[in-house]
């Protein structure tokens, strides 16, 4: 199961002895390698607790989505020993669980994963969970406690585990079959893990964890995620029952062939004594038997048994494949979020915030954290499918505007995982600054005039808008900039497609945004009137004999009508969003990077109309009252 690349990396490590003359070579276990080089998996310093939470949530979501189970995940992070910085971390899900005979290796042995396939998933490396186990073993004397109820088995199993870091093997302290009455997992299947980790939680890291959970909830609105800490408990409820089409495992695309994939394919079929053509069309997608024959002919190599070819001959096949035109790759192995789910996520966005010190009462039982609903007034969605580095890639872009949003914020997701660090160097940031705001039909001047009063960190117009922009890139090979997997590089034509996607979205929401800005402007003006009317009324009622209350009320009614005059109601664009699968244009792909695009855009506006009508009615009533009272006055 282990990826050969990773193992090679581990075995090539060199240990130097004291003697200068001799260098002794020794082999290092995968576990030891990863513990020594924990930064490779992101487990560094203050990030340990953040990474642990992240890995557990991602595993749980993957486990649920594999069988289209609506996820229900409970995460908890509690300080159990302040003196030694020990934290109890736990995560429980209703996913497919892990078969009892595989639990110990799945939890403890590095580079063991059920995910080494060509299919979009959150986790890929089989490292995250093992890292938690290894760190727990390394830093504490607590065992890892695991409850697993696999969909393939009837009973729940309980384990107490530690990792033998020197050999990459699990140490099973306890293994028992839980009696149905005592079972921890309520549903048909599920998985629960409890670990004790040593780590520090700085306020910054704490906020990152909060951001991670709330952003995960945006792209997984079909999941219930509850998070409990010493500061209180937050639950993100399920807002939709729709789940994205699960990703399917597919064969690799021939344009992406290299010596390694070809040899692996031959190796898999070694016992079947088939021809190289047979192996090609069975191991790669979009490759017919005729096409395979053509490739072999073009490669100019003689026909013989598949495992008899030398590397010199195989590389010729690879080179021919990189020059040959093939049909566009399959996108069945990708699982975009889709318009419907994305829209639900954006409209129900909630962020966790920590209450201010002075607002917290002395009562210890009061939760210190709470959530704020963003309630954007409009959202938009657009997507593109394209080929980046021979891998099909889907770019999804969402936008939320108004409501409780106060300023611009960029959200980046890769394969449904929120990216939180290194925003400045992410391609999405470049895309945002390169796509002109006036595609939205608003000028920078307008934006500055209307929003400059709000607290802002920069002069750039986009930063002043109450707008959240969401980018989701899904691919089996995300072009991450660094090993930390926190920002995406502008690889190939990715940037071009992202820009096109965002421009599309801007154009689509333009009308609504302008309308919202009009409303906002009217609101601002009304506010200004409300500030000044008392001064005017006071001045007048001091000078002449008139009821200040009557005057105030009529004045308010008058300005309200005056302000509304300029604001028209645009037709709200409600697009049919039934088909949320992203179509890909048929397109021939050559060996070089090349792309094609298809788009799908729409806007959903939550109408405020009914509310407005009501307000107007009451205004009318007021005016009539004042007409009669003013007659009496004169």
């Amino acid at each position: 199961m282990a990826s050969s690349r990773m193992v090679q990396l581990g075995s090539s490590s060199v240990i130097q002895t004291k003697s200068k003359a001799k260098i002794s070579f020794s082999r290092k276990a995968e576990s030891e390698f990863f513990v020594d080089n924990s930064a490779l998996a992101g487990f560094t310093g203050e990030r340990i607790l953040y990474m642990a939470i992240r890995e557990l949530i991602e595993n749980s979501l993957d486990s649920c989505e594999a069988e289209r189970i609506l996820p229900k995940i409970a995460v908890s992070l509690k300080l159990i020993d302040p003196l030694n910085d020990l934290w109890a971390i736990s995560c429980e899900d209703n996913g497919i669980g892990i078969r009892s005979d595989k639990v110990s290796v799945a939890v403890c042995s590095f580079l063991t994963s059920g995910k080494y396939v060509e299919q979009q998933q959150r986790g890929l490396f089989g490292v995250g969970l093992k890292m938690i186990a290894a760190f727990s073993t390394k830093d504490t004397d607590h065992p890892l406690r695991v409850w697993s109820k696999s969909a393939e088995e009837t009973s729940e199993y309980y384990f107490e585990l530690r990792t033998d870091i020197g050999t990459n093997k699990p140490i099973v302290l306890t293994r028992r079959d839980t009696k149905p009455k005592e079972s921890t997992i309520r549903g048909k299947s599920g998985f629960r893990i409890e670990a004790v980790l040593r780590g520090r939680l700085s306020p910054i890291t704490k906020n990152r964890i909060h951001d991670y959970i709330s952003q995960t909830s945006i792209v997984n609105p079909y999941a219930v995620i509850s998070f409990s800490t010493d500061d209180g408990m937050i639950t993100f409820d399920r807002r939709t029952n729709i789940m994205p089409e699960p990703a399917k495992e597919v064969l690799p695309h021939p344009a992406d062939m290299d010596l390694k994939t070809l040899k692996k394919a031959i190796g898999t079929h070694a016992l079947q004594k088939t021809t190289i053509q047979g192996i090609l069309c069975n191991s790669f997608q979009k490759l017919s038997f005729d096409k395979a024959k053509e490739i072999i002919r073009n490669a100019g190599i003689e026909a013989k048994q598949a495992d008899k070819y030398s590397e010199h001959e195989l590389i010729k096949i690879v080179n021919v494949c990189r020059q040959t035109k093939f049909q566009s790759p399959n996108v069945d192995h990708l699982s975009p979020i889709g318009e419907r789910i994305f829209t639900v996520g954006m409209t129900t966005e909630r962020t966790i915030f920590t209450k201010k010190e002075n607002a917290i009462s002395d009562d210890e039982s009061q939760p210190k954290i709470s959530t704020r609903e963003m309630k954007p007034t409009l959202t938009g969605y657009s997507s593109r499918a394209c080929i980046i580095n021979n891998r099909p890639t889907i770019v999804e872009c969402g936008l939320a505007y108004g409501g409780n949003l106060s300023y611009f914020k960029l959200y980046r997701f890769a394969n449904k995982i929120p990216l939180l660090y290194d925003e400045g160097s992410d391609v999405a940031r470049e895309v945002i600054s390169e796509v002109e705001l006036n595609k939205m039909g608003v000028s920078k001047k307008q934006v500055k005039e209307q929003f400059s009063g709000l607290e802002s960190r920069s002069d750039r117009a986009i930063d002043l808008l109450p707008i959240h922009i969401f980018f989701h890139i899904c691919s089996t090979k995300i072009p991450y900039k660094t090993a930390g997997k926190e920002s995406i590089a502008s690889e190939g034509e990715l940037k071009k497609y992202m820009k096109a996607c965002l421009s599309d979205l801007y154009r689509k929401v333009s009308k609504q945004i302008r309308h919202e800005m009009h409303l906002k402007d009217a609101e601002n003006r009304l506010k200004l009137y409300k500030y000044y009317i008392p001064l005017i009324v006071d001045a007048i009622s001091e000078s002449i004999d008139v009821s200040a209350e009557d005057l105030t009320n009529s004045f308010l009614a008058l300005v309200e009508r005056h302000v509304k005059k300029g604001v028209s109601h645009p037709r709200s664009v409600m697009t049919n969003v039934e088909n949320h699968a992203v179509p890909v244009e048929r397109h021939d792909v050559r060996g070089q990077q090349k792309g094609s695009g298809s788009k799908e855009t729409s806007v959903v506006t939550r109408s405020k109309k009914s509310l407005k009508m009501k307000r107007l009615d009451s205004t009318q009533e007021k005016i009539e009252n004042f007409l009669t009272s003013s007659e009496e006055l004169s």
Partner: protein, 368 residues
């Protein structure tokens, strides 16, 4: 005093009528309250050949809280109108700064609080607007400014109930011209003519020399830019008491500008020119040609700045400076790029200005 009271009452009535008009608009709910007032400033100032002064044009401004920008302005005018009414009701008097303080407040809520006045300029503008709204000059509101004009010579004033003789025998001081001009009454004028100079320093020098006694003159100064009270006093002496008025200012575009305030008025106050301007006043000096005719030594001359030259170029185009004499003077200035202050005559001796230059200029123009 009873006449004054009556005028006060009329002003209060006018303010109340404006308030009433606003009230009617608001209570009927038919339209935003609004009123048109004369526009103030250079773009609504026209030269009247007939009156020989700057007068106000026909442009008006629409004052109404109908746009975001105009809401504060409208409120300020209403609040200031009420403040003026209060001042009159309480029979008090105030400076423009006092009015600013009396109406200071903030607007908004805790999250967004702004000052009602951005600066005293805004409050001063509001006072002007109340003048235009009511058609009543600010002196009748009892709104005044700090006195800075000075007068000296055989003239008897009554301020309130007190008699003030400006013919101060000691030659040691001058009388400040009161700014509450409505309370000032000219009782008697024994002088033959009125001489206005630009600066108080020059006035002091001339007074000390015994010029007043020798030539039976009234000396006045506005200490730079003259206030309304000084301008009105000059006008009254010229038009009511029929005394010739001569003006002396520095030989630079700035000084010429100040001299012209008395003679033709100013753009910012063009709406009130009829009460402030003395078209018969004569601007006698200091001419640019005087620098050379009276041999002001080079060391006492100043080099003209770019701003001076621009101003002079602008002035050349003005209708009121079209005659040959002024064009020649301005061309001379633009050619030599030299200016000179009246004080420069002190280089010829402390008595030279009062005893040689001024009498000679007055004789040339036939005043003496």
């Amino acid at each position: 005093m009873s006449g004054m009271d009556k005028r006060h009452k009329e002003t209060i009535k006018k303010i109340r009528l404006i308030m009433k008009a606003i009230c009617n608009d608001v209570l009927s709910g038919k339209k935003m309250p609004s009123f048109d007032i004369t526009k103030i400033g250079y773009d609504n100032t026209v030269w009247s050949e007939e009156k020989r002064m700057l007068t106000v044009g026909t442009k008006t401004v629409h004052i109404s809280p109908d746009t975001t920008k105009k809401i504060p302005t409208f409120s300020q005018y209403v609040v200031m109108s009420n403040a003026v009414r209060k001042l009159l009701d309480e029979q008090m008097e105030s400076t423009i700064r006092g009015m600013y303080y009396a109406t200071l407040s903030t607007v908004g809520d805790e999250r967004n609080r702004q000052k009602f006045w951005t600066s005293q300029d805004a409050s001063d503008d509001a006072i002007k607007a109340v003048e235009l709204l009511t058609g009543v000059p600010r002196e009748e509101f009892s709104v005044t400014s700090k006195p800075k004009g000075m007068i000296s010579g055989p003239i008897l004033l009554r301020v309130g109930g007190d008699l003030i003789d400006c013919n101060l025998g000691s030659r040691a001081t001058s009388q400040l011209i009161p700014t509450n001009i409505m309370d000032v009454e000219i009782v008697d004028v024994k002088a033959d003519f009125v001489m206005v100079v630009e600066k108080d320093t020059v006035l002091n020098n001339i007074r000390k020399s015994g010029f007043i006694q020798k030539y039976n003159a009234i000396l006045m100064t506005g200490s730079g830019e003259p206030d309304r009270a000084t301008r009105m006093m000059v006008k009254t002496l010229n038009e009511v008491w029929k005394k010739p008025v001569v003006v002396f200012a520095d030989a630079d575009p700035w000084g010429l500008g100040i001299a012209l305030r008395y003679k033709i008025g100013s753009e910012s106050l063009s709406y009130d020119s009829d009460r402030l301007v003395t078209p018969d006043a004569k601007v006698l000096g200091m001419m640019f040609s005087d620098i050379y005719e009276y041999n002001i030594p080079e060391v006492a001359r100043l080099t003209a700045s770019d701003e001076d030259l621009n101003r002079a170029n602008d002035m050349k185009k003005k209708q009121w400076l079209k005659d040959k004499k002024w064009q020649k003077e301005l061309n001379l200035f633009l050619k030599n790029k030299e200016k000179c202050e009246l004080d420069a005559f002190f280089k010829h001796g402390f008595r030279y200005l009062a005893e040689t230059y001024l009498p000679q200029k007055l004789r040339e123009s036939g005043i003496l």
